[in-house]
């Protein structure tokens, strides 16, 4: 076919301005550039401030999430996460103020007020999060004032989320906006206090595929109770009890460190970092928690749990490891926390990490990544598809872990793919998650499909 023969004069994969966003470990010691705004025209994989805020807050199950802006910003984020709820399903409704031309010209505040009133009348939610989008930021709607008035009028929390997308292309700014909204929500009224308990809060846990419930089971076995998770399977009432916890676990460094620090300052709650991706990480994290409580019985139970689970996991991992050892992997995910966890798990499976990167990593994160991967690994910040393609081919990668945007890029090249995104439906946390992850990695890396689709049986042998 004529079309097939068109090969563009070898387009440049990497734009010059981006050369400092890519480095090879061992070769240069200079720091990687990151967290810059995305370069115009470079087809970044990043989303926006609003989306960052939305993914953090969305799992609050009984709140109304009202997106103030034109229709698309809401439509694209409807039911985006595989977060599960044990009760209310309100968070899975997608509310948009659906701004029209006249609103953009004359201001959207009136419509926002009307929408809030409608929603309250219909559902009587305990709280409404009102998200600002780019257009709203530009036309200067005062959503803070509108929310304040609405709160007073209806006697519920109407909380502005200042997530105008164009403030920065970086989701981290959105995480921060979400964090501020959460702190506002849980702050006790003047004169009121929340009773202190021995329970803990679990920050950065979104109950994807029921992951929070799984960890909750482990903790229950140890004799520790979760107060509330930020924000997986949480309710407004439960979140308001957050100040009563004695400890905060922080799971996703990108989105929740700042919140943990603020909670420590405001309510004196200490925090520890945990990581439930991978069996080793899970065991370590459980031990850390047990140590914090310093109760011998808890420590004993924890060790018993770990021993039993490890006993179960080890042979399974070994089985997959035999098949996967020496295979070449690539990782491109949203945050450094996830990247580190995946690198470690793949290494446990005997795989070599050839290239890795994130959308939102900070310099410290990249240093940490640099420390655990072997020399020659390419590390890249805010990669574009052209770059991902280039390194997948150059490094002869067998399997990539990433988000949905990368999936079909990998598949077209005949490279296996594991989804590690917000919208996955199956849990990857804990001991069970480690087993599922290993089986997924095996299923895609060693799929019988690849050798078949890559060859053409009708091609005459050369010469």
């Amino acid at each position: 076919m004529e079309n097939e023969c068109f090969v563009p004069a070898e387009p440049t994969a990497c734009i010059d301005e981006r050369q400092f966003s890519i480095m090879t470990t061992g070769k240069n010691k200079s720091r990687i550039h990151c967290a810059d705004d995305s370069l115009a025209g470079a087809v970044s994989q990043r989303a926006c401030v609003y989306s960052g805020a939305r993914v953090v807050l969305n799992p609050v199950t009984d709140a109304v999430h009202l997106v103030h802006g034109p229709i698309g910003c809401a439509a694209y984020t409807w039911d985006i996460r595989g977060s599960l709820s044990s009760g209310p399903e309100m968070f899975r409704q997608s509310f948009s103020t659906d701004l029209k031309e006249r609103d953009v010209v004359f201001g959207g505040e009136k419509k926002l007020v009307a929408c809030i009133d409608e929603v309250v009348e219909k559902y009587h939610p305990p709280a409404i999060f009102v998200y600002a989008t780019c257009v709203v930021g530009l036309i200067g709607d005062d959503i803070v004032a509108v929310c304040k008035e609405a709160s007073e009028r209806h006697g519920i929390d109407v909380i502005p989320v200042e997530s105008s997308g164009f403030i920065s292309g970086n989701k981290i700014v959105g995480y921060r906006a979400a964090g501020e909204a959460l702190l506002k929500l849980i702050r006790p009224e003047e004169g009121e206090t929340v009773e202190k308990t021995r329970k803990l809060n679990f920050l950065g846990e979104y109950n994807l595929g029921g992951e929070k419930w799984l960890v909750e089971r482990y903790l229950a076995e140890m004799g520790v109770e979760i107060n509330v998770a930020f924000t997986g399977d949480s309710t407004v009432a439960a979140l308001k009890k957050a100040p009563g916890a004695c400890l905060n676990l922080v799971q996703c460094s990108g989105s929740m460190h700042w919140v943990a620090m603020s909670l420590e300052k405001e309510y004196g709650i200490p925090y520890i970092d945990v990581n439930f991706f991978g069996a080793e990480n899970t065991a370590e994290s459980l031990r850390k928690i047990a140590r914090f409580y310093g109760d011998e019985e808890i420590v004993r139970r924890t060790e018993a749990l770990i021993e039993r689970e490890m006993e179960r996991v080890r042979p399974v991992i070994a089985k997959y490891r035999a098949k996967l050892a020496g295979k070449r992997a690539a990782i491109y995910v949203g945050g450094a926390f996830k990247a580190l966890a995946i690198i470690r798990q793949l290494q446990e499976l005997g795989m070599e990490v050839m290239f890795t990167g994130t959308q939102t990593g900070k310099p410290e994160d990249y240093e940490q990544i640099g420390n655990i991967v072997s020399e020659g690994t390419v590390v890249i910040d805010d990669a574009n598809p052209a770059e991902i393609e280039k390194f997948l081919l150059e490094k002869n990668v067998d399997m990539m872990a990433g988000g949905v945007k990368e999936r079909f890029l990998a598949h077209k090249l005949g490279v296996g793919f594991v989804d590690h995104n917000h919208d996955r439906k199956d849990g990857l946390a804990g001991f069970d998650g480690a087993i599922r992850f290993a089986s997924e990695v095996y299923a895609t890396t060693c799929s019988p499909v690849w050798e078949r689709v890559k060859k053409n049986p009708f091609e005459e042998a050369e010469g």
């Binding site: 097939e4 068109f6 563009p8 734009i15 115009a40 229709i71 509310f95 929603v119 257009v135 890559k454």
Partner: protein
């Protein structure tokens, strides 16, 4: 019956959206232009979301560039960023065509994109590269309108008075790549010379093939687009396309190319209309092979008519498809319970009136609908089949109405890009899915249901009531 009641959304808030935003449709249409790249002028998030939506539907890697506006440019204008974006897109992709679609932000800023492009052209040596800008503010239209507006802008960009030739133009709405291929096959079978726009049948549904090409092969060649103004006629599947956005109307008014506006060739009537038009235009008889296909469809309709008559579907999505699907149902004896479009200005309700005048039941027709309204109507009318895109997932998940996926976007099933529903063969494939979904629901529940109806305390008296 006096036809149908039309309800438009009265509430301010839009709850569970039935449509997407305007530049998204433009992105799809641009994929149908050979060697083109779409650049969304706005903040980064919009274009990332559009990529995501398309990746999930087409199961293809899809690049959409962004001018990545930030706060500073939002106040001082986006020209500088747009220029950098153009530079980079040209450097990385070496396209022949760049389509600039504006996001709401750029529109609100009031950026004069046309002028920016003019200046860019004069002081950059970009040779043959064409830049087409389309205004696509989502607060003014949906992805459906974005698709039409972009297709029209592409034609307008290339159209010059051209010499008359014997070929025809075929303009398609947002349908699947598989549907486009089927329409092309019918055109070939009828021996017509044609230019189909936008032809993304290959660009958005690529066979597996080693190296990923940054610009997918395929698309309507720009030289062919330039010749559209000299065609003998235009067939456009755009009964619901507003005049101001109609590509076919543009060609008729400016260049005197007669416009034949047809419904999508879904269903027996719809396909007959299309094939009949091709027969008239080509002067050739309908080949036996095609009559065979027609015969198989008729046979299926005869065999399944009673099952299908029991369907009371809720049909929702883009108006052009919704109209064709409603026709398909009605010609098979099934009266839709709810017919809903996500856009306004499509004239859907008026088009439906004559079809519905003899219907035994009165369907609810909704325009500019959101899913909360659609769900509510579907429950009130006891709809028993949900026909449309993935947005209707709660109809199944929450209301237990079996779903049949067709349209755009589809992200909870595989193969959105290869759903076939046009022509005799495509209709047959769709109709079989339609009937089988009904049968599946029936077999999984009829024993229990009859038991519950008849073996209760009140016995058969309940059934009589």
């Amino acid at each position: 019956m006096t036809g149908c009641k039309v309800t438009s959304r009265v509430r301010q808030v839009n709850e569970n959206q039935c449509h997407m935003c305007m530049p998204l449709g433009g992105v799809i249409a641009l994929r149908g232009v050979e060697h083109s790249v779409a650049l969304v002028h706005g903040s980064q998030g919009c274009s990332t979301y559009m990529r995501l939506a398309n990746v999930e539907h087409f199961n293809e890697p899809i690049d959409i560039a962004s001018s990545s506006l930030n706060e500073k440019q939002a106040i001082f204008g986006g020209e500088a960023n747009l220029r950098i974006a153009l530079d980079n897109v040209i450097r990385v992709y070496r396209p022949k065509v760049i389509g600039i679609l504006t996001s709401c932000l750029a529109e609100t800023m009031g950026d004069d994109v046309e002028r920016f492009v003019e200046t860019y052209r004069t002081d950059r040596e970009i040779g043959e590269i064409e830049i087409i800008s389309v205004s696509t503010p989502s607060y003014g239209g949906t992805h459906t309108e974005g698709f039409w507006a972009t297709t029209r802008a592409v034609i307008a960009h290339y159209a010059r008075p051209a010499e008359r030739h014997g070929g025809i133009n075929v303009i398609v709405p947002n349908i699947s790549p598989a549907d486009i291929r089927e329409i092309k096959r019918l055109l070939d079978l009828m021996g017509l010379e044609y230019t189909l726009l936008p032809d993304y049948s290959l660009t958005l549904d690529r066979p597996f093939g080693g190296r990923y090409q940054k610009i997918a092969p395929g698309g309507t060649p720009t030289a062919a687009i330039a010749r559209m103004s000299g065609a003998r006629a235009t067939i456009q599947f755009g009964l619901t396309c507003p005049d101001t956005l109609s590509p076919g109307l543009f060609l008729e008014e400016r260049f005197g190319v007669p416009l034949i506006n047809l419904p999508l060739p879904i269903g027996l009537d719809g396909t007959d209309l299309f094939v009949g038009t091709l027969k008239d235009l080509s002067g050739q008889p309908v080949p036996d092979s095609l009559m065979l296909e027609r015969g198989w469809l008729c046979d299926a309709m005869a065999d399944t008519h009673k099952i299908n008559a029991a369907a009371r579907p809720v049909i929702y999505g883009e108006p052009e498809l919704v109209y064709a699907l409603a026709k398909l149902c009605l010609e098979n004896g099934s009266v839709p319970a709810v017919i809903a479009g996500g856009t306004r200005n499509s004239g859907l309700a008026a088009l439906l009136q004559p079809l519905l005048k003899d219907a035994l039941e009165e369907p609810i027709v909704l325009e500019e609908a959101d899913f909360v309204t659609i769900e509510d109507a579907a429950v009130r009318t006891s709809a028993n089949l949900a026909v449309g895109h993935s947005g209707g997932k709660y109809l199944t998940e929450r209301q237990g109405i079996p779903g049949l996926r067709v349209g755009y976007p589809i992200h909870d099933r595989v193969g959105g890009q290869r759903i076939l529903s046009v022509g005799y063969a495509g209709t047959l494939a769709l109709l079989d899915r339609f009937t089988n979904t009904l049968l599946e629901a029936k077999y999984s529940s009829y024993r229990r249901q009859r038991k519950e109806e008849l073996l209760n305390e009140k016995g058969v008296s309940d059934a009589k009531a």
